[in-house]
Symmetry: C2
Subunit: 459 residues, 2 copies
């Protein structure tokens, strides 16, 4: 991209950074874009948080350290009203975990407990495996088959370029534990909801409240278990999935602001989530999202006071089920949300500009759409396609949503695995995200167009 | 390849499989090649061994099960004189292993003990880290620095297409433990000798006899530790690397033969190794090599009695240091080796035909070289370039060596890691190997050219 526009780059490099006062002209947009494509702050935030804190499972001491880190960093960057909004929740932590085929082919398999999994008793559980190739096959099977068994559901995810497949494929993580518990299984294993072939299982929420020990096998191990089962002899497994749940533990949202000139214009809520699963260092999920949105906000701050207040939220406890988002919505009930936007889909390039706003506001998006084209961002998939995880709580209350949808082709290789580490972030792609977010905020933070409220469908 | 030669394929598909009696004609070679490119036996062997046995660490009960599996399978395939040639050795097994930064940035790192590592005491070792960017930097440093510390050597491997880099880069696995022990370090960690960025450390031999606990960090973790160290504050780690060494444990080589018509013509020794490291299922290292060589030998058997005896050796205990190869050389001392060839470089395509034979025999290789070109196999890197791991013991005694060198570009992503599993083998590439090996044996098993002895250099 950058070489194609090098002539323009040379031109705009001599211009001062535009003041944030009206819709940027094409030359101003180019200046904002080219400047953001040299951003170092996003990398520094992702590198710092993943190195100096590492994993930060919700409501643990590590997430607490992450909040301390975040407050110090956001204050140092010059944001206003930097604070923690605390809440309490049930903390789930994992202990020892092992899976092994005992007979007929003794060997270990790579396993990780799903979030909220019950703990197996001392020594684990040893039982025969009953295997199903998909969630539908498990649902359709004779319920009596599962009684006293370790249920294994080998529901396979396929690669897609966006978030579309996740809902379809991750259903197994919630439904299989629930159904296995109902049918009297002693434990349940799923094929990881993921697309890589490394010995790194994908954890994720789904087992809380089911009362059953639930784990995910890495893809090579899921296929190994299926091969063993297909030999036709009874397969017995030993499964150790130790875990602990503790009520009323502290977590919190970290919040920072750029005050706007007109409080009545509503608040722009942007951010990602500070907590991570415990297996990796939460680099693409979601240090990257914090880094991108914070770097973009900092760039806006440098351009002067925006019309609308920009509130940066580093949500706590997203992974166990949007606990921080619910606490935020409760604490800020009744406030006017100009729009909400979230970066929680990795560190891949922004591919499309999406909206879930009032139809009447769509024409006002046109200059921004045009400016984003030069970053390789397409016009998107129709109004209503913008979505998010933490901000879904606000969306359900009618808040308009803006989305910068990323390339997710390889995201589910890393998602919720030990492999979610800093090395998976590409600096060039991260900078393209910062540029897209900065442009988006530059256009929309000073525009008075009302983007909401949005009629809430039942989808 | 196959589409390019489809006309020829149609032609030769109607011919009977050639009898093995003289150098194959081009049409016969094409028939052998096309037939082998449909091979299913190699996949069945790799799939069976990795599924029904899995990992098979040297001198363990699992390696014993692998020998039983191997004998049954080789007998069923119709090989002659199928037997185990037993030997005893020191068995090394791993126990619990954990690495964590205690301060200033508490977090876990992915670690695996190196083969032969000493065991840490109960509770592990907690000490300050002294880090070096390379083996040379460690060697050049003040010896006093290491005293009482955990030495970390972040010696980085780069990707090459062949075996060339392995010697250079794996030196750290042997030299770092030795030097760390000499300098009074309490433990030693290396950056894994590997090229992937997954949280799967690469184990491997190197620590035996050093008396120090030695482990490898996965690449993301090695870089994480370096980032922590570069912050400038003392980094303290806790390291648990439990292991056990037991003398006089049973292992063995599994041997099968195709008797030749002329015992005086010498024996062709081919094969790979049956043992594996314990982290993966030993699919590319080295079920693939056993599968390829055995499938090729089986094809030769179907063509009739060769001039030279073909001896298939599934070596035991290669990984801890060619223990099976040494036992083989001792048990078969004085026998005439027509040539030795080994498949122990993964399941990637054969890229080149290599030799380490008497110069006078090189012209006799020409028809074979020509036949291999149609499989995409190049002429190689000059006489002397053929080498092997187990067969290096025979090579040092003057045995001629034939090599079918494979594409190893991605081999060190998997080598000695948990990721070495069946899914990493590509059926098409495996079949190309079988075709190359079958052609090689078809040409050379009936050729009376003396390929050796070869002058033994000191290299």
């Amino acid at each position: 991209m950058r070489t194609v526009f090098s002539a323009l780059t040379l031109l705009v490099a001599r211009l001062p950074l535009p003041a944030l006062s009206a819709a940027p002209t094409p030359a101003e947009a180019a200046r904002i874009r080219e400047d953001a494509l040299k951003d170092d702050l996003a990398w520094d935030i992702a590198e710092g948080l993943t190195t100096e804190v590492g994993q930060r499972l919700a409501a643990t001491e590590a997430e607490e350290r992450a909040r301390v880190w975040a407050v110090a960093r956001l204050k140092a960057l010059g944001f206003s009203k930097v604070r923690v909004e605390p809440f309490t929740m049930t903390r789930w932590t994992r202990g020892a975990e092992r899976a092994s085929i005992v007979a007929p082919f003794p060997q270990s398999l790579a396993v990780a407990a799903l979030g909220g999994s019950s703990s197996t008793p001392p020594g684990g559980i040893t039982a025969e495996v009953v295997a199903y190739p998909s969630l539908a096959a498990f649902q359709a099977a004779d319920p009596a088959e599962a009684k006293g068994k370790i249920v294994f559901v080998s529901h396979a995810m396929t690669v897609t370029s966006d978030m579309n497949g996740y809902g379809t494929f991750s259903a197994v993580r919630r439904e299989a534990p629930k159904l296995a518990a109902q049918r009297g299984a002693v434990a349940v294993l799923i094929r990881s909801v993921g697309t890589d072939y490394h010995r790194n299982p994908h954890t994720g929420a789904g087992a809380a409240g089911t009362g059953i020990a639930a784990g995910a096998l890495a893809l090579p191990d899921a296929e190994q278990l299926m091969r063993a089962v297909k030999r036709g002899k009874p397969v017995r497994m030993n499964l150790v999935l130790e875990s602990r749940s503790e009520a009323d533990m502290p977590s919190g949202n970290v919040i920072a602001e750029i005050p706007g000139s007109d409080p009545a214009a509503g608040t722009i809520v942007i951010g990602g989530h500070l907590d991570s699963w415990d297996l990796g260092t939460g680099a693409v999920d979601d240090a990257a999202g914090l880094a991108i949105t914070t770097a973009a906000a900092k760039r806006i701050m440098a351009m002067g006071k925006p019309l609308r207040t920009i509130r940066l939220v580093w949500f706590g406890a997203e992974e166990p089920g949007l606990v921080g988002a619910a606490a935020y919505a409760k604490a800020h009930a009744g406030e006017k949300v100009a729009f909400a936007a979230e970066s929680d889909a990795g560190a891949g390039r922004v591919l499309s500009f999406e909206t879930s706003i009032r139809e009447e506001a769509l024409p006002a998006m046109q200059p921004l759409r045009q400016a984003l084209v030069e970053l390789g961002v397409t016009k998107g998939h129709g109004n209503g396609a913008a979505e998010g995880s933490d901000i879904s709580v606000l969306a359900r209350q009618g808040a308009p949503i803006i989305g910068l949808a990323q390339d997710m082709t390889r995201y589910f290789d890393l998602h919720h695995t030990p492999d979610d580490t800093l090395d998976k972030i590409d600096l060039g792609e991260l900078r393209q995200n910062v540029a897209a977010w900065t442009l988006m905020l530059a256009f929309l933070a000073n525009d008075r167009t009302e983007l909401g409220p949005v009629a809430v469908s039942d989808k």
